[in-house]
């Protein structure tokens, strides 16, 4: 249930309680009843107070939800630290590639492969939405430059969010990689698919982990082997300033492009996973807070209503008794 709706329900319930306690007519009660279906059933025409049983049920369900959100927060918090270490360690793998081959998100290529990375599970705040937003902007830019676009989507959430609008651009969808702890093997299996589909440049969009409360949507660019060769010829990267032993430049750059895809993918998955945990921790904390606020208000409502019912019954008994006394 959304927070706003819950609060509206509470407001209605309180309004009704106050309307009846000052002797409001049932017609006014009837008006408010139509606005909220849940508590309305507990509050039929002519009944003065909100049903205690229903409030009690609501309190129970709210506290159960709070237990779940608290547990989810604890789980995310305990997984965060190892994931963070992994992500930060993996940065050391990609920086040398950027130093050697450069980061060229604006490289003009005939074909562009978009790779939005998202989580497989929800309830983790806005991180997946951010990736999708950035990807959509990149798609527009690529369309303007008349580059042919295809997409390899990683993670179930981005698939769900993007399928309706740009589903026809999908080439491959890779999900459930987060089911097991991330390994370089998994990352490189995904990267292999990406490298296969990459016939120009691949733009990998993910959330870079900054701190437990801050994640930056980031674009990592990987060119194909041929594009790296072109940019080496145009002196856009420093490859030719090194003396290397081994196969010719084309083959070497092909190997490097593939390995870079793997390294970038590993880094991006690790960072995104860490951001997911951080974001989940944060959103579950605020959910728990909302639940406890709600519980407080419901408890107040419950106690007030109970008190009001007792008072009314007492008045009835006393006035009945005094009426009998008068009759004597």
């Amino acid at each position: 249930m959304s927070r706003n709706r819950a609060f509206r329900l509470l407001k209605d319930a309180r309004l009704r309680a106050s309307a009846t306690s000052v002797g409001g007519t049932s017609s006014r009660v009837g008006q408010t009843v139509t606005r909220s279906a849940d508590l309305a059933s507990a509050h039929p025409e002519g009944v003065r107070h909100v049903s205690l049983q229903i409030v009690q049920q609501r309190m129970k369900s709210v506290s159960n939800i709070q237990k779940i959100t608290k547990a989810m927060k604890m789980v995310a918090a305990s997984r965060l630290k190892p994931a963070q270490d992994k992500a930060i360690a993996s940065r050391g793998m990609v920086t040398p590639f950027y130093k050697l081959l450069g980061d060229l998100p604006g490289a003009e290529t005939a074909k562009t492969l978009m790779v939005p990375i998202s989580s497989d599970k929800g309830l983790c705040g806005g991180i997946n939405g951010n990736v999708v937003k950035v990807s959509n902007v990149l798609l527009e830019t690529a369309k303007d430059k008349e580059s042919e676009i295809s997409m390899d989507v990683i993670g179930d959430k981005a698939r769900g969010l993007m399928q309706r609008q740009v589903g026809e651009l999908f080439a491959n969808v890779l999900v459930d990689a987060t089911k097991q702890p991330l390994t370089f093997g998994t990352a490189s299996a995904l990267a292999e698919q990406v490298a296969k589909d990459n016939e120009g440049k691949a733009l990998i969009v993910y959330n870079r982990f900054v701190s437990a409360i801050s994640f930056k949507p980031t674009i990592a660019t990987v060119l194909s082997g041929e594009e790296y060769e072109k940019s080496a010829e145009n002196l856009e990267n420093k490859f030719d300033s090194y003396e290397v032993e081994g196969p010719d430049r084309g083959e070497f750059l092909l190997d490097l492009a593939e390995f870079k895809t793997g390294a970038v993918m590993y880094n991006a998955l690790a960072e995104n996973n860490t951001s997911e945990l951080g974001s989940r921790m944060q959103s579950m904390e605020s959910s728990s807070k909302n639940a406890s606020e709600m519980l407080q208000k419901l408890t107040l409502l419950y106690n007030r209503t109970r008190q009001a019912a007792i008072t009314t019954e007492l008045i009835e008994i006393i006035s009945g008794a005094s009426a009998l006394e008068d009759a004597k």
Binding site: L169, N172, V173, P181, T183, T186, S188, E251, E258, G262
Partner: protein, 74 residues
Amino acid sequence: MSAAANSAAYWRIAGMSYLKYANACAEIVRGALKEPHLSKARARDAVYFKATKYVKGSPEAAVITEVIPAEIPK
């Protein structure tokens, strides 16, 4: 040309990509470890994901790729 370069050509001819080759090598290196490092490293052999190919916006059958780390003989 160095030996590494020659072998690089061979695995390309055999249809392997660099990443496949690198991972195959890594698996062998991990397998050469001794306990207690072996069981820790073996866990990193694991691969799991589900791939679905899309043609014109509609999904085809999903393919699950799973590599379960080999059991360590006692």
